[in-house]
Structure formats: C-alpha cells, structure tokens
C-alpha cells in the first residue's frame, strides 16, 4: 500500500479505498462513448468530514478528485481524465429531514433518486420530488450538479437545480460551507433572500467543490394520474401545439418524441402529456381542457390523440421510465449516449431535422425528443444515439455524430447540456470572453490547486 492509499484508508476505512485493477477498470469508463481513463484510487466516503479530509489530502499532494454519484451522466463527466481519486458518493445516502409544511427534504449527496422517492411514498405519501428519467440509482447531487430535469420540470419550475433550497459543500480548497437559508437559520427552506451562492456549484460538473448535502423542493403527489398522447406528422406545428398545451396550465409533464423505431411510428411525432389530479372529476376535467385546447388541430384530422387503452398506458405513467434505459439495447449492444441541448422551444422542428440529417450522414439510428422545461421557457432536446458496445466502428460513428450534434445544437441557438469535454470547449469558444474569464476566476478561487474534476470547464 502506498502512502496515499494508507492515508485514504485511515480516513474512510480500508474497505472503502481501492487501487485494484478491477475498480480502476470500472471507474475508468462510463456507459457512453468517451475514452476511458484510469483513476489511481477509488474512495467511498461516509460523511462530509471524510470528504473534507480527502480534499485536504488531495490538495497537499496535488491529486485530482472527481466526485461521482450514480455515474450515469453518459458523457464521461465522471471519468478521471487526469487520474487521481474518484470519489464515489453513494455511501452518503441518508435522508436527513423532510419538512412537510415547507415542502423540502434534506438529503446527503449520494442519496439515490429511487430511494428518496420510495422514502417519500412511505413516510410522506402526499409529497414527491421531481424525478429524472435516469435510472433510479442516479443521485440527487449528481443530477442537480448538471442542471438535470424531470417529471416536474414543466409544471413546478424548471431545472432540478432551480429546485435546490440549500447546499452543504466542501470547496475545492477544503472549506466546508453551507449555502441558502441553512447558512443563517436552522431551516433549509430557501436560497432567497441571500446572495445566491448555490449557483457556484450547479452546472459546474463538480469542478468547484463536492456537494455533501442538498435541500430539495418537494411538491404535492396527487393520487390520480393519466396520460394523453398527441400524434402528428407535421414537425412545424409542434411549437404551437406545445404552446396550447402549456397555456392550459394543467399538464404536469410534457414530452415530445420522434423515433424511427418501431417502424409504425417512423415519421410520427408524439407529444406525451402527463396529467395528475386529486380527484377523478378533476382528472377528467383536465383531459377535457387539454383536448379542447387542441380542437382546431384535431378537427382537421391532420393530427390527433392516440386512443390509449388503460393496459397500454403503463409505461407512460411510470417514473422513472424504464423504457429510456431499454433504449440502450436497440442495437443489441448495451449503449447509448445523447446530446441533450437546452434550447428555445421554437427550435424543436429544426433540431429534429438536424438530428435526422446527422444520423443519416453516419448511418446510425436515433431517438429524438424534448422535455418542456418550465412553462415553455425552454426545452431539453435530446439527440440520443444507441450503439453496440462490441462494435468499435459503431462507437466511432456515434462519437462523430455526437460531436457534430454538439456543434449543430450551438448553431441552432441551443446549448449542449452536461456535455463532454469536447462540447464544453465548443461552448467556451462561443461564450463571451468576459463570462468565461469570470468562470475561470471563480474556479481558481474555489479550487486554487485545480484538483477538482480537471479537464472540465477549462480554458487553456
């Protein structure tokens, strides 16, 4: 055992440090197409103190540290590009507090989405948090650290990072700080009215510090749930249809999808509208409101609602949606990666065309789609490309397609989300220099030795 391993073992216990080939192999790669790179150590802290000690150690010895939650980001953001320590946060998964009246929960960073959902279902059945469609093993902190989005992003106020009510963070420099109301009073209810420092850790891919605790907003969990699916062949009417649905103010989640598989859906766009209600009457009323909002469209028979017998609704009512993970097996190959671009809603039609063009160019298949964020304030448009993990050419094609897609998304006026390092470079190149320079100043303030997830958000 080398000195550092020994030190790490003293901090977290020897069972929770590994330098074995097996762990280094697994933690060197994720599920997407990014090149693997080995960590030197994989460390599993149990609490914020330990995280702090690890960061101190890493600063002393200039060892890179890559925080990792579920490791499900797909775009390589937890691959230790410069080696060093991968800090797997999932032992820190205690649910610390649920405040029913003020609708928030405080959890340790590594708490999984699934666990929080199950916990709320059992102990606070009238409340829920906004679940992403990521596999349930994804973590709360990993998701907010990249501005994730999910089932309540449309109806309840946007990206999951906007639902953060407070944070506890170990900075890259090793200080532990609290942000939001919890910094001043006991409750974790709000980031306002204080200067908003939480933003220094949201969207930063773990380059400014390690989040150790998260306060997250909770919302009512109505008892009734249903789904409507609107189908059209005309890409260009999508923004207006979305506008009309949003205008009703009764849709919980709105997703748009276009996929060449199965063949009977090729070329048909589906707008999936999830509805919730506290009573059946309310649910039926909401369905009627949505249908009426689209009457001008469906009366022409050019587009319309798909009849959905209850037995066929199951998959659409599920959260998280397993179907998205299943997409990895489209090429019988255990892989997909996507460019998720945050973009204006009106760009959806062009984004679809661009996605089809790029995939045609590389001869690969796709699933395109968008989740509406906020009341139509933007969309998270995904260009998802499956690949066969055992086929290097396929992986190559998908890598190129993803690069082209990042560039195309920017050209369309969108911004690639949780993007690979190459995509981050494209963004930084296009960013106003004053902005990127401010970013770098902040990074060097919070992480003076540049140990935090190096390679990410870097201007060379």
């Amino acid at each position: 055992m080398d000195k550092i391993t020994e030190r790490l073992a003293e901090i977290v216990g020897k069972d929770y440090v590994s330098t074995s080939a097996e762990e280094r192999f697994i933690y060197s790669r994720d599920q997407g197409v990014q090149q693997p790179h080995m960590p030197d150590y994989v460390v599993l802290p149990d609490n914020a103190r330990q995280v702090q000690e690890i960061i101190h150690l890493a600063n002393n010895d200039s060892i890179p540290v890559v925080p990792m939650g579920g490791g499900l980001v797909l775009s390589g953001l937890t691959i230790p590009l410069a080696g060093g320590i991968v800090l797997d946060m999932k032992r820190m998964n205690r649910i610390l507090e649920v405040n029913e009246s003020s609708h928030y929960a405080v959890v340790e960073a590594g708490t999984s989405q699934g666990m929080l959902d199950a916990y709320l279902k059992k102990h606070h059945p009238r409340l829920k948090h906004s679940l992403p469609d990521a596999p349930p093993a994804a973590t709360i902190a990993g998701n907010i650290a990249i501005h994730g989005s999910g089932h309540l992003s449309q109806s309840e106020g946007g990206f999951h990072s906007e639902m953060v009510t407070g944070l506890e963070v170990v900075l890259g420099s090793g200080e532990m700080v609290k942000l939001g109301s919890c910094s001043t009073v006991p409750g974790w209810f709000s980031r306002a009215p204080l200067p908003d420092l939480a933003g220094l850790f949201l969207g930063w891919n773990g380059t400014t510090g390690v989040i150790t605790k998260v306060g997250i907003k909770l919302f009512p969990r109505p008892r009734f749930h249903d789904v409507l699916i609107y189908m059209t062949e005309d890409i260009d009417i999508a923004p207006d249809i979305l506008f009309r649905i949003i205008e009703t103010e009764v849709a919980e989640d709105i997703n748009y999808a276009l996929s060449p598989k199965p063949d009977y859906l090729n070329g048909f766009q589906m707008i999936v509208i999830n509805l919730v209600a506290n009573t059946e009457i309310e649910l039926n009323m909401k369905k009627k409101i949505i249908r009426d909002a689209l009457y001008d469209y469906y009366k022409t028979k050019e587009s319309g609602f798909m009849p959905l017998p209850p037995a066929m609704k199951g998959d659409f009512l599920e959260a998280p949606q397993k179907a998205l993970s299943k997409f990895a097996d489209v090429k019988k190959g255990g892989g997909f990666e996507y460019v998720g671009a945050i973009m204006p809603v009106e760009k959806i039609p062009d984004a679809c065309r661009e996605g089809v063009r790029i995939t045609d160019r590389y001869g690969i298949t796709y699933s395109l789609g968008a989740r509406i964020i906020g009341r139509g304030h933007s969309a998270m448009f995904f260009f998802a490309y499956p690949f066969n993990r055992a086929d290097t050419q396929d992986i190559e094609k998908v890598s190129h397609a993803l690069e082209d897609t990042n560039a195309a998304a920017l050209k369309l006026g969108g911004i690639p989300w949780k993007t690979e390092v190459s995509g981050q470079k494209l963004i930084l190149e296009q960013m106003e220099p004053q902005t990127s320079s401010l970013m770098m100043k902040i990074k060097s303030l919070l992480d003076p030795n540049g140990i935090m997830n190096p390679g990410n958000w870097e201007v060379k």
């Binding site: 069972d15 929770y16 590994s18 074995s20 080939a21 097996e22 762990e23 192999f25 697994i26 933690y27 599920q31 994989v42 599993l44 579920g70 490791g71 499900l72 797997d88 999932k90 032992r91 999984s112 699934g114 666990m115 959902d117 199950a118 916990y119 059992k122 596999p135 349930p136 093993a137 994804a138 397993k322 993970s325 299943k326 990895a328 097996d329 019988k332 190959g333 255990g334 892989g335 997909f336 066969n388 993990r389 055992a390």
Partner: protein, 387 residues
C-alpha cells in the same frame, strides 16, 4: 463460457437498476450493499467478466472476490431494465465461476467448501452416518414405499438450527398422518449450491447420485426442507433424467391447514422473510404467507421489501458456507433484521434453513435478541400449540 452468454455479455448497459429492488427502497444486491464499489453490483460484474474474457483484466484475487460474492439471489434479474438479457445475468455469473473453478483459480474459502463437498459429501465435514441424526427420537421411518420422501438436505441434517427446523417439519408431517420416509445416511447433498458456486461437475455427480437413489427406491414425490433443494430437484434434475413431483414443505403444510393440521393461537407480530430460492427462483410467495395468515392471533407484518423485492439473507450461491461477504453492519442479513424490526415485528418467520441461521446470527450481531427472534414456519405452528 458458453456462446449463449458471450454473445450477450456486452449488452449490459450498467445502468444500475440491478442495485435496487423494483420499489427502490434501498440497495437490494447483497454484494453491492456490503462492498459499495460499482464493481460489486451486477452491472459491474458483467463488465468485468467481459473485460476478463477480452483479456483486459486478469482473474486476480479481487476479481474472484467480486465473482464469488454474488449470492445468486436474482434481485438483478427482477430489476434489470433490459428484457433480452435480464434472465441470463445470474447464469452468466455462475458460468464465469465455473470457468474459474475449472482453472482452479478460486478463493480459499470456496476451495475448502468444494473440497469438503467432494471428500465428505457435506460442507460440515461431518460423517455421512450422521445425516439422519436430526431425526433421532422422532420415530420416522426410512423411506421404503411411502408416498413421499422428506428430504432434509445438508443444512437440515447438520446445522443446529437446520436440524431443529427439520424436526419441527417432520413432526408436523407426522401429526398430519402423511405417508413419508427419510433417507438418513443414504441421502446425498442436492448440489444446488455447489452448482451455484460454479462446480458443475460435482453438482451433476451429486444430482445423478440422488436421482439413482430416488429411482431405485421408487421415489415419486419429494418434500424438501430447503428451498435450495426444492430448486435443484425442480429445475435442475429433470434435464439430468430425474422427474419427480417436488414440494417445498410450506406448500404441503399449507394444504393441510384447517384439515389435517389445526393450529392454536400465536399472539405475536411476525414478519415473513422470503427465501430467494422459493420466491424469486420459483415464484412461491403465498404458501408461507397463507400458513402464517391463518394462525389465530398472529399479526403478519410485511417488510418494505417483500416477495420479488425481498432482500436476500446473504446465504445463497454458496455464501452460506464460504462467507465471502464477511462481517459488518452492511451485511444484508443485518440490514434485513433492521428492516424486520422497523415493522414492529417480534419474530422473523423463515422458510429456509439457511435464512434461519443467517438471520439468527444477524440478530445477535445487531444485539437485538431482546426485541426480535427468528423462527421457522413449522416451529411457529408447533409453538402455537396444535389442537
């Protein structure tokens, strides 16, 4: 490894559904729960086996630990998001172990276990003549031409708690007037866990020995004490030429209730723990619950994770004998005891001698003997005072 497996191993996405139950409460993979490295979850295991096949990593001590810590509980099979590969996950882990066994590259504890099985015919290194010792004083006939064979298995024959459970069960079968007999020293290990540990050759040999004995004696119907034996007889033996009608003892007792068996009252809150080899492997979730539910006074509690989502005791896949999972508060058996306690139950009811011992030890490790204890279903019926 069989091409049936190597053709699909790259299809695992390692998306982590396999770590949780389908209801997400907490990590439900005993090996992952204990070690917490991605490498110990089913997805990690799949990727490592593939890397090993492709020559990217070697079969080190750690690799062996990762492979042999799988308790074959099939939670991953239940939870996996990919319908085209999910059923094969555990089969692939067992096949990889088999390759390691064939290469003689296995953890010492596994080697010792397999050696004992080969040399002594049981993992306890006990004499074969003592296989029937559990039945002493019960006046149980040897199997001749009775309707049923009651098969006690390794744990039921040699483990203290297993023997207690075998005795309780046999007493109930007798009092119900069932025509059955036992094989005692003529019994051979069912081979279920040897197979799960990757020693297919030995498992086949044990199975063939049993099949021959059963056939020679004209056995048609078998009642097993252990779900592990139940699984082997039901799912493995037919392909080797052993066609028997197989029952787990809870299924038989369930059919006797209110007819051949009348229980007394049992004024306790009881949480039932599903054994993997009865539940996820063989979809029998209800017989044990019906028995418990029919006992007057008994309040049946469900743990958060139950039936197809039950957390394994950690004893499957040979781990009961090899103890690769070791010790510590994150042992699934201890987590299970805590989960049972949180229901307010005073008793954990088990239907498997391995679960019995695992959970009984865990109650002691947790230091909660004063709050909860473990009892098997036959034992509970007897305690209720039969009418």
């Amino acid at each position: 490894m069989d091409s049936e497996y190597t053709d699909i191993i790259h299809r695992c996405f390692r998306c982590g559904w396999c770590k949780l139950p389908t209801t997400y409460q907490d990590f439900n993979c005993p090996a992952y729960l204990k070690y917490r490295f991605e490498s110990f979850a089913s997805g990690g295991r799949m990727w490592l086996i593939r890397a090993w096949i492709n020559g990217e990593i070697e079969a080190s001590e750690r690799f062996n630990q990762i492979l042999f810590s799988c308790v074959t509980c099939r939670n991953c099979v239940e939870a996996c998001a990919l319908p085209k590969i999910k059923d094969k996950l555990v089969d692939i882990f067992i096949a990889a172990r088999q390759d390691l066994v064939d290469q003689g590259n296995i953890p010492p504890a596994v080697r010792d276990y397999l050696k004992a099985m080969t040399v002594n015919g049981n993992p306890y290194k006990m004499p074969q003549e003592q296989r029937g010792a559990w039945a002493e004083g019960l006046n149980i006939d040897r199997y001749e031409d009775q309707e049923y064979l009651f098969y006690a298995g390794d744990v039921g024959s040699y483990d203290e708690l297993g023997m207690k459970m075998a005795r309780s069960t046999a007493r109930l079968l007798k009092s119900a007037g069932l025509s059955f007999g036992i094989l005692a020293e003529e019994e051979t290990s069912d081979g279920n866990d040897v197979r799960a540990a990757g020693e297919k050759g030995l498992a086949d040999y044990l199975a063939q020995t049993n099949i021959e004995t059963f056939n020679n004696k004209g056995v048609k119907k078998i009642i097993t004490l252990s779900p592990h034996g139940y699984n082997a007889f039901r799912n493995e033996y037919p392909a080797l030429g052993g066609q028997f009608e197989v029952y787990h003892y809870t299924q038989v007792l369930n059919s006797f209730l209110g007819d051949k068996i009348h229980t007394g009252r049992y004024e306790k809150k009881v949480a039932y723990h599903d054994p993997c080899y009865l539940g996820r492997w063989n979809q029998e979730y209800f017989a044990p619950r019906r028995i418990l539910g029919s006992i007057p006074g008994l309040k049946l509690a469900e743990m958060d994770r139950n039936m197809n989502n039950a957390l394994c005791c950690g004893g499957g896949g040979g781990n009961f004998f090899t103890d690769i999972l070791g010790t510590g508060p994150d042992l699934s058996s201890r987590a299970r005891v805590r989960e049972a306690l949180s229901t307010g139950a005073e008793v954990i009811a088990v239907a498997c001698p391995q679960c019995y011992k695992m959970l009984d030890d865990a109650v002691k490790d947790e230091g909660v003997q004063d709050r909860i204890r473990v009892s098997d279903i036959a034992g509970i019926i007897l305690e209720s005072g039969m009418k």
